[in-house]
Symmetry: C2
Subunit: 336 residues, 2 copies
C-alpha cells in the first residue's frame, strides 16, 4: 500500500504549498531564524547579512523576455531586494539532463553573466550535476544569494500598518501569460513579454526616497499579487483594499486572461513588486519608482485597513467588492 | 541537425567535467573571486565570509549509512570546512518529482535537521519546487552554505609545498561501494556503510593542532582521492607520492573493488578529507585527527614532491610505482 504523494499543486505557490512547507520543512529550520515567511532571512551579527535561495525549473527554458539564466539571477536578486538588501554574491547549482543541447547551456550561462552584470552581483561559486535522460528536464538551476542590509529595520512582511499605501511598479501577469504563449497553450496570437528583471536598483531608489517608511516589499511570483498581498495581510494582521481601476494594464495580458478565464491577480510576475509604504512617503516613493526604468508605470492601487486581519478585498471596475483569495494550488506548473 | 549534447560523463567529477566547467561556466563567474578551483570561495571584506553550494541528485535517496538529507548537509558543511571555515548558515532548495512519497520527503527532512544539529549549522531559508512525473527523479536537493574563516591565510589547494605530508582520515571508497550495493549492482554480499559525515569539527581540531601549517584540505568526493590529489598537485604546481601500504583499509571496499575492477582511489567518499600539512606539524595534526570520532583510522600516506608538477604517483604494495591519473569521466553516476 502506498502512502500520500507530493502533487504538482503543492509546488504552485498557493495555500497547499504553504501548508506543506509549514508542516514538513519548517521543523528542520532554525527555531529563531528560519521560521518566518520571508523569502530571504536577515542574519544576526554586525555583518547585516541577508541570505536567500531559489530553485528554477521553468518550462520552456527560453521564453519571450528571458530565459532560465536571466530568471535564476533576477529571482534571487529580487528576493534579497525585497528585504531591503543590496545583493552582492551569488552561487549557482545546475542539474542538467543527459542529452541536453550544449547550446542551451551556453545560452543560459550567457544570460546568467549578463543578468549578474546588470544587477551588480558577483557569481562566485557553483556546482554542476548531470542526471540520466528522463530523470530531469533540460536544465534546473538553483541560485543562493548573499546581500547586505541597506537599512535597519528592513522592510518586512510583518510591518504593514493601517493607513499604509499599496504601490505596484507596473501591470501584472506578463510573466505567466508569456509562459503560456511560449508553451503553445494559447489559441490566440499574443505578444506579451515576460517582465523578468532585477529590481534591486529600483528598490534602492525607493528606500532612498522613503527610508523606514517603506514598510513591506514583496515580489508577486508564483500565486501572483493575490498570494503576495494575502501573505503580507496575514503576517501583519491587517486588512487591505485594492482598486481594479487603479491597476496599470497590459492589453495582451487582459485579453489572454479573459479568454482563458484566469484572474490576472493570480498570474505570476518576475519583475514586479508590491510595496506597502507609510502614507507620508507614498508620493515620494511613487515618484522615485516612476523615474526608474522598471517602474515607469507604477501606481498607487490601494490601502492597508485595520481589518479584518488577513483579508484582501478588491473594489472592481464596476464598483462591486470581492474578496481576493490566495490561490490554493497550481494554475501554471513550472512557471519559475 | 542537432549539436553537441551534455553527457553523464561530464557530471562525473573527472577531467571531462572540469573541462566543461572551465569552458562553459567559469566565464560567467566573477573574474577575481569565481575563477578558482576551490569548492568554496573566501569573500573579501572584514566579515571573512566563505560561501559554497552543491546540488545533490544521489540515487537511491536512502542508502546504507545515510540519505539525501544527511548528504546535502554534510557535503556543503565539508566544502566550507575544507577552506578552514566554521560553517554557520545553510539554505535548502528542493526539487521534488510529482508522485514522490511524502514519507521520503519526511525522512529526508528529519535527516537534514539531525545533520544540521550535529554539524552546528542553522538552516535559515529554503525553497520548494515540484516538477511533473519523469521530469525529475524523486527529490533533488541543493544546499548553499555560509561560514566564517577560522584563520587567515586559510587552507587552499594552491598552498601545497614540497616536503609536506599527505594525511587521510580513514579508509577510502566506502560511500561509492555502499551506493553500488544499494543499487543492487554488486553480486556479492557487502555490508559497507557510506562514510557520510560532517567534518567541520574534525577540521577545527586539525587547525588548532597545526595552525597555518595546514596548507591544503580537500574532500575526495566525485572522482575520489585520485581526483582530489591531482587537483591539489595541479593547483600548487607540485608532485606527490603516496604509498599503498600506508592507506587504512576497509576489507569490504577492497573485496568489492577487486571483483568489479574498480580503483578504490577513484571511488567517491563523503566523510573523508586529504590534508597537506607542513612536516613540522604533521605529527601533531595526525594525533588530533586520531583523537576525533571521524579520524580514528587516520594515517600519513605520502609526501609532496618538487615535481613533476601536477603528477601524483603511487608506490604499490609490491614496490612498483604507477601514476595516479585523475578519472576522466563517470564511474558511478549520481553518487552525490
Amino acid at each position: 500500500m502506498s502512502g500520500p504523494q507530493v502533487t504538482l499543486a503543492q509546488g504552485g505557490g498557493g495555500l497547499q504549498m504553504q501548508e506543506l512547507i509549514a508542516r514538513e520543512l519548517v521543523p528542520a529550520c532554525d527555531a529563531e531564524l528560519g521560521r518566518g515567511l520571508e523569502d530571504a532571512v536577515v542574519l544576526p551579527g554586525a555583518e547585516r547579512l541577508v541570505l536567500t535561495t531559489d530553485s528554477y525549473v521553468i518550462r520552456p527554458a527560453i521564453f519571450p523576455g528571458g530565459d532560465l539564466g536571466k530568471l535564476a539571477v533576477c529571482g534571487t536578486v529580487n528576493d534579497l531586494a525585497m528585504r531591503g538588501a543590496r545583493p552582492v554574491y551569488l552561487t549557482l547549482g545546475l542539474i542538467v539532463e543527459e542529452g541536453t543541447e550544449l547550446e542551451l547551456l551556453r545560452t543560459v550561462m550567457r544570460s546568467v553573466a549578463a543578468a549578474c552584470a546588470e544587477a551588480g552581483v558577483a557569481l562566485v561559486t557553483g556546482d554542476f550535476k548531470v542526471v540520466e535522460r528522463d530523470s530531469g528536464d533540460g536544465i534546473f538551476a538553483n541560485t543562493a544569494g548573499v546581500g547586505f542590509l541597506r537599512q535597519d529595520p528592513p522592510p518586512s512582511l510583518r510591518r504593514a500598518r493601517p493607513g499604509d499605501a499599496i504601490l505596484i511598479n507596473g501591470p501584472v501577469g506578463q510573466h505567466g501569460v508569456a509562459l503560456l504563449a511560449a508553451r503553445g497553450e494559447l489559441q490566440l496570437q499574443v505578444t506579451v513579454q515576460s517582465d523578468c528583471a532585477p529590481l534591486a536598483d529600483l528598490v534602492g531608489a525607493m528606500l532612498k526616497a522613503g527610508g523606514e517608511g517603506v514598510h513591506a516589499l514583496h515580489d508577486p511570483t508564483r500565486g501572483g499579487v493575490a498570494a503576495a498581498l494575502n501573505e503580507i495581510a496575514e503576517a501583519s494582521g491587517v486588512g487591505m483594499e485594492i482598486r481594479e481601476r487603479d491597476f496599470p494594464r497590459d492589453a495582451g495580458v487582459d485579453g489572454a486572461c479573459d479568454i482563458l478565464g484566469l484572474d490576472p491577480l493570480q498570474v505570476a510576475n518576475e519583475g514586479k513588486l508590491v510595496a506597502i509604504v507609510a502614507p507620508e512617503v507614498a508620493e515620494a516613493v511613487l515618484k522615485a519608482m516612476r523615474g526608474h526604468q522598471y517602474g515607469a508605470e507604477s501606481a498607487l492601487i490601494g490601502e492597508v485597513l485595520e481589518g479584518p486581519a488577513g483579508r484582501v478585498s478588491l473594489r472592481t471596475a464596476l464598483g462591486t467588492r470581492r474578496i481576493v483569495d490566495p490561490p490554493s494550488g497550481e494554475l501554471l506548473p513550472r512557471i519559475c
